[in-house]
Symmetry: D2
Subunit: 499 residues, 4 copies
Amino acid sequence: MGLRTGEQYVEGIKYRQHAAIYVMGKRVTDVTTSPFLKPSVLAFKATFDAAFEEDTRELARTYSPIIGEEVNRFNSLHTGPQDLVAKVKLLRKLSHKTGACFQRCVGWDALNTLYIVTKKLAEKGKKAYHDNFMKYVADVQRKDLALAGAMTDVKGVRTLRPSEQPNPDAYVHVVEERDDGIIVRGAKANITGAAVVDEVIVMPTRAMTEKDEAYAVSFAIPLDSPGVKVIVGRQLNDARRLEGGDIDGLPYMFNHEGLIVFEDVFVPWERVFLYRDWREAGVLVEIFSSYHRQGYAGCKSGLGDVVIGAAYNLAKQIGIADKPHVQEKLTEMVFLNETMYSAGLAASWEGRKLADGPGGFWVNPMFANVTKHLVTRFPYEIARLSHDIAGGILGTAPSEFDLKNPEIRQLVEKYLQGVPEFTAEARLRMIRLLENVSISAGYLIESVHGAGSPQAQRISMQRLYDFEIAESIAKYLARLGARPADKRVEPHKKSDAER
Amino acid sequence: MGLRTGEQYVEGIKYRQHAAIYVMGKRVTDVTTSPFLKPSVLAFKATFDAAFEEDTRELARTYSPIIGEEVNRFNSLHTGPQDLVAKVKLLRKLSHKTGACFQRCVGWDALNTLYIVTKKLAEKGKKAYHDNFMKYVADVQRKDLALAGAMTDVKGVRTLRPSEQPNPDAYVHVVEERDDGIIVRGAKANITGAAVVDEVIVMPTRAMTEKDEAYAVSFAIPLDSPGVKVIVGRQLNDARRLEGGDIDGLPYMFNHEGLIVFEDVFVPWERVFLYRDWREAGVLVEIFSSYHRQGYAGCKSGLGDVVIGAAYNLAKQIGIADKPHVQEKLTEMVFLNETMYSAGLAASWEGRKLADGPGGFWVNPMFANVTKHLVTRFPYEIARLSHDIAGGILGTAPSEFDLKNPEIRQLVEKYLQGVPEFTAEARLRMIRLLENVSISAGYLIESVHGAGSPQAQRISMQRLYDFEIAESIAKYLARLGARPADKRVEPHKKSDAER
Amino acid sequence: MGLRTGEQYVEGIKYRQHAAIYVMGKRVTDVTTSPFLKPSVLAFKATFDAAFEEDTRELARTYSPIIGEEVNRFNSLHTGPQDLVAKVKLLRKLSHKTGACFQRCVGWDALNTLYIVTKKLAEKGKKAYHDNFMKYVADVQRKDLALAGAMTDVKGVRTLRPSEQPNPDAYVHVVEERDDGIIVRGAKANITGAAVVDEVIVMPTRAMTEKDEAYAVSFAIPLDSPGVKVIVGRQLNDARRLEGGDIDGLPYMFNHEGLIVFEDVFVPWERVFLYRDWREAGVLVEIFSSYHRQGYAGCKSGLGDVVIGAAYNLAKQIGIADKPHVQEKLTEMVFLNETMYSAGLAASWEGRKLADGPGGFWVNPMFANVTKHLVTRFPYEIARLSHDIAGGILGTAPSEFDLKNPEIRQLVEKYLQGVPEFTAEARLRMIRLLENVSISAGYLIESVHGAGSPQAQRISMQRLYDFEIAESIAKYLARLGARPADKRVEPHKKSDAER
Amino acid sequence: MGLRTGEQYVEGIKYRQHAAIYVMGKRVTDVTTSPFLKPSVLAFKATFDAAFEEDTRELARTYSPIIGEEVNRFNSLHTGPQDLVAKVKLLRKLSHKTGACFQRCVGWDALNTLYIVTKKLAEKGKKAYHDNFMKYVADVQRKDLALAGAMTDVKGVRTLRPSEQPNPDAYVHVVEERDDGIIVRGAKANITGAAVVDEVIVMPTRAMTEKDEAYAVSFAIPLDSPGVKVIVGRQLNDARRLEGGDIDGLPYMFNHEGLIVFEDVFVPWERVFLYRDWREAGVLVEIFSSYHRQGYAGCKSGLGDVVIGAAYNLAKQIGIADKPHVQEKLTEMVFLNETMYSAGLAASWEGRKLADGPGGFWVNPMFANVTKHLVTRFPYEIARLSHDIAGGILGTAPSEFDLKNPEIRQLVEKYLQGVPEFTAEARLRMIRLLENVSISAGYLIESVHGAGSPQAQRISMQRLYDFEIAESIAKYLARLGARPADKRVEPHKKSDAER
């Protein structure tokens, strides 16, 4: 059945013999006990547990017509706006449980993207890939697999196309075609949750030309396939997890991002979803990135709630929560946070059908891009305001080991306490939470770059807005032209995916 | 039948013998030919024409179960999210036709508000007001009346309640109760479209206490009721309309705002919708202002399209439309504009039912406040960017009378032209459009203050956000408390209207 | 002697028989009595009066070694940082007297620019132009002339050089060389104060190539030279001046901007300061624009004081001046205003000597550009905050003619009053002041475009910052290179003018 | 002589037997070899070395009339604007050498503050404290001591005065007066460089009333005085320093902040500079905080140069440095950075003399507050822009130990390289630099809270701006009052320190 418990997920990834996972230069054999990766495992686990917990049970499950059962929503395909709305809401709610990125969206968005892309290919007569995909998604849903989505190539020289790169492996590509499958080489960077998943879905990262044909490839493989290596990246404050404490670094969940290297990895044909159809690469990227940009409305506003809650509590701890300037700042944080969320809801409700069948409902691409672009800016502002409220102590608080050292424990307790109703430990714990969430790579850097850089959204918005129609409206009003007959309300153009 | 043509509307307001309307110190007897007010009449007229024009016919009409016919949407009651979405979309589209505020939303929002408020009173046993209201709305729909909504009192000393004011008439109030009705006195300020409507719906402007009982009054009267005076306010650049030209000031539609003075005006009982029920005043204001804040997503993003289109055209006229920094600015304008719009769509789709029957569907108050708060900021930014693109000529261009003076016409033509494909007149017309729209009271000042000042939205957002839940989420993550059992996704509190 | 009274200035420009000045399509023979231009005359006049008024006497006068007397500072040459600081301070103070641009800076900056440029040419052996200039400046100082500076050409197609334009007159150029002088043709746009000065100094507006040689020309001529036409541009709310009232439009000073057309105008050799030396054009523009950008710190912060003062008064008038959110906004306005001013002071104090003799002290170009770039943004923000405080009435207040109409005067008095200590007239006057200043072309559009568009400053800042040095600092810290030996504190490059 | 080398400073602090310094719960006996504190020692050391290095020698030295020798500028007193300008410039330059806060400003600002405060007390007849101070400063200069300044108390309940706190030690206070000196108790928080200095100067942190008399105390003591404990605070990424690598965490300099606890510490009378003179506390704080706010212009713009340089280099490494949107962002970073710096220069040049003798020159308090308030905002914006340019890799790059592991070294080298001219190691080093500087507590949190929270600057700016004068200017222009006779250019009030 399509619903594993969190515990089952953890058991499932505990020993994967061939998966070569490196953390800080060392091979890790059991990711579930690695102090560096455990926070990621717990965050991923939360997506499974959500399907069984009272407050998220409904949101986290949905019926799949593909396998005729309830599945974890993270492996479901969207058939209407209500699914997209549920996605955004589930993500906000899950952030409240984890305080971190739970890493399961990329794979989810990849499934929904490949449904549409393979379906379109099928309509053009190439049915095999859609058949492959439908079998794959049924399997994923039945086993409730944990998936990573891998799109971003390492890219080498940014201004050159894949086939023009001095390093021919700067983009993942097919190096050999065999009867039973293909051999691929290259590396995917910034892959969320890379080390703690069952499988990886690989997709191309940009529009391509005919010369880049070998780079137009999409497939799925188990993480422990021969030839796959995962080099886990560093994050802000990561080394604190290794200290053995229970305040400064440990108890929080975190995501991780990794480099997945494919050293001539074999992929059987039934796991191939796109192969040398270079014309589809651009549309695939557009569909995926819009899905992924929409999602940020949920997870980042959920983290925003955590930041707001922490700032509010710290204000209480020193007795300033009802000061006008503090309320002003808290309200501003709420405003910014709800703005991001609103845009994501609009991107969901105003979505459109791109393909028939048990999937194929897409977001509104303009609002999805607006959502993500807001996310590239507002978290820095929310973080700044939270730091303002929290006070300078956020950057100077003693470590938990000072609090635990009997020689100085009393001093720390005496001088870290604000309002007597709160203990010094409560203050320290909340300071660390705010520090660890609001100044995390996940809340700052990833808000800028996840699902494409700010510039990528700007290019999308520029393409989607119909400046010519806007101009004709202006010309009409200035008595320089007739009233445009156009029935569209929004001066938006169709995206490539809709054409 | 519930649909008048624009022409019928104009005829209807042409001669209203008792309506005392003052413009720049002079009594106006026919608003439809007053050079000052004609742009407002035309903008209002556009809301009627929209129901007959191909591109808006569907959006601008809706079936009313109350009278069993199609009505103009501006007089309809909302029964579900699709109605609220249609509202926002209709407003954006109408801005493209008018380039100005078309002034009919306040009355519309008043109808929807009073439906809910009188219905709630009826549920508490006071049925007369709802009966009055239902008869009234049926009449409005059948005759397709043009309504103004009048909420903002002149307020005198802002820090005092109505009953505490040195000027007892600083808020509209009942001064006498008679068998056949009531006598009211006071004045309502900033009333959009005040001089060009058939009727005015009056509502209280703030929460009240028992002492303010006489101020808790809502009613509707024809504009030409004895004792009503309208003093039309000035606007930026208004005097240009009186010059007789056809470029600098005339051809544009504009809204107007006026002071409506009630000098002991008689209101028959059947036109009274709230009377001394001071407890309802606060909720009424909350319901109305949220409706009205949602609407700004439509009209202001529509004006944003006009500003973007004008800036884009002017960039073309001097050959810089494809310069990176110009594209950067155009894209930023799109982003800001679509952000406001997205929030309004979210406020619509995520609305909720407050009352049963043929109305009663309300917006999501948090997102409605977010929408309006965005509107208090982004138009100034969009305006600035448009001025940046347009060039300094926006503030220095010659008048149309220079262009028309044979002595210097050739000079103006020669030196105002940029790229030869465009004439100097085309440049001047577009410059004036941009000036008249982007630096209008409607796009700037009213974006700040319409439907309540920025501070009003901040207070609302602060009240609607559940800081205690956010804190409990943070405490859970910091290991200072249990996981909140709360099923809500958004940490939002119920508004007063929902309790 | 080098100091005229304001009255003498007015008398001087009263009748200039050949000056062909057009305002709204009509020829104006006496600018001092034209209702449209009188506010400009008064603003310009304030610069003369300042030299005799107690509070500005010292700032507004300075000793000129050139003529050995005290002169009006607006005609002086800068010899050290204290002169530049005095400039900024004088401008701030004069804004308090005028509430408007007083229009005399461009000519002043032109004088200082031409001193340096002609001096540099003299050092290269071309002494005639410097001799011409020194005679000219002595004459200007002695007669205390009112000067306009004319730089911006109409530019035609922005992407083409002067010599490539379809309209060969899109930039002012020499069309004939004679024994006694030259004949010039073309037009200068956006010329501040164009109609109310004694003379105009013309300068090229951009860097040039050899092919543009004929466009590399600078000279000075009386405004009433044969062949000169001035077409005065429109401004926001300009038509109100023609109404004859004393509140809504009249009493304020304003600047004006005009198009100056040169229809084959003769310039005698002694009035020529640059002639076909195309290599100097770029440096001339850099020197001038930096001078002019620095000045904005003064005049715009002075207008900011007016806006702050008006908002503060209006807050008092309705009893909210001590509300925390109002104080927050007032403080933000102060902060933004003082930031612009600070940058201008830094640009002054950190200036540098470009040429010896009784002039030649230049600003710090980086900080001058920073100053102006701040000015392209902050006034819109200050305006928005002032509108927030003032309330919606700013866009809806009745006209003065309503207040003066005995039929409704009492109503206006009763309902426009806030706190009883203030009258309705006091409120209306202050509302109009705020409207007329904060939403003027001078405070908004001209803040964006004066002294070059925002993009011009960005290009300057990018050129002036030494990214290579910054990179070498980063490389040193990242252990990728040696410590830069560079002694500069700021990683700034020399401007072209300093090389 | 008043100039120690960096090496001499390090030797001097190597063994301080009584100084009880705790880092992460453990007592540290030699701060110069502690991996946690060594980066701080090196940063402090740079202030000594600067006096001997070619590029800073002149800036870092100045003649002291007090001891008649050259001293390190960090121990000097300011006698004119040029000293304040040199301060800002020295700080910018030193940031280029350290990439971190070098921690010596607080003590410097404390010296300058106490000169003025004790001098004023002397003028009121209390000469002993000034005598104490002058002897102390001579000693500091002669020995070239490393000083910390300690102002911020732990404050307990923020809304209560020192004497009202539930914890009487929430502010440092005198608990006993003896013949030879006083006994003090309490703790100072957020003390920059606390563990690596020779001495600490303690000052009160807020204005006081008579009841708080015992809290009005200022003094200096060696760090290793009996009863002094230093608990060093944590910082972002601090644990990386303990890993033993040479890329990820080690090679950078950092500051540290600590809690200094005074457990009944004896201070001899000759080291006491303020004692129970509660009236002076407020002015002392104003003088100090303005000095300290001015300084931020230097150090933070210097760090900004590092961030800009690192972003520029990373853009080059992937081949995008000349893309328009990258140049746009780099230019914006420059603009923001130079704005902060400009304000600090204005605060220096426009300073004023508060006391005679070999010190006493103060900043301009308005511009000092503007400077710091800019610093509370712009670094977050600069950081965000730098992250935008750097790419997502900033949050996902592998550790140096991956690069050093022969198993995967080649993969990291192959896939981390962008443009072939740069190595993977060069990319990793630059990524880490950008991460460690732009997301440091020093660049973000401390920019918000150092020298007082944003609200503290807002209160100061609000107090320093003369709203009444601004109002009178507006009233004059609105014809509601006479022209203010005031000769001040800036509508600024005198600060308390100047009265």
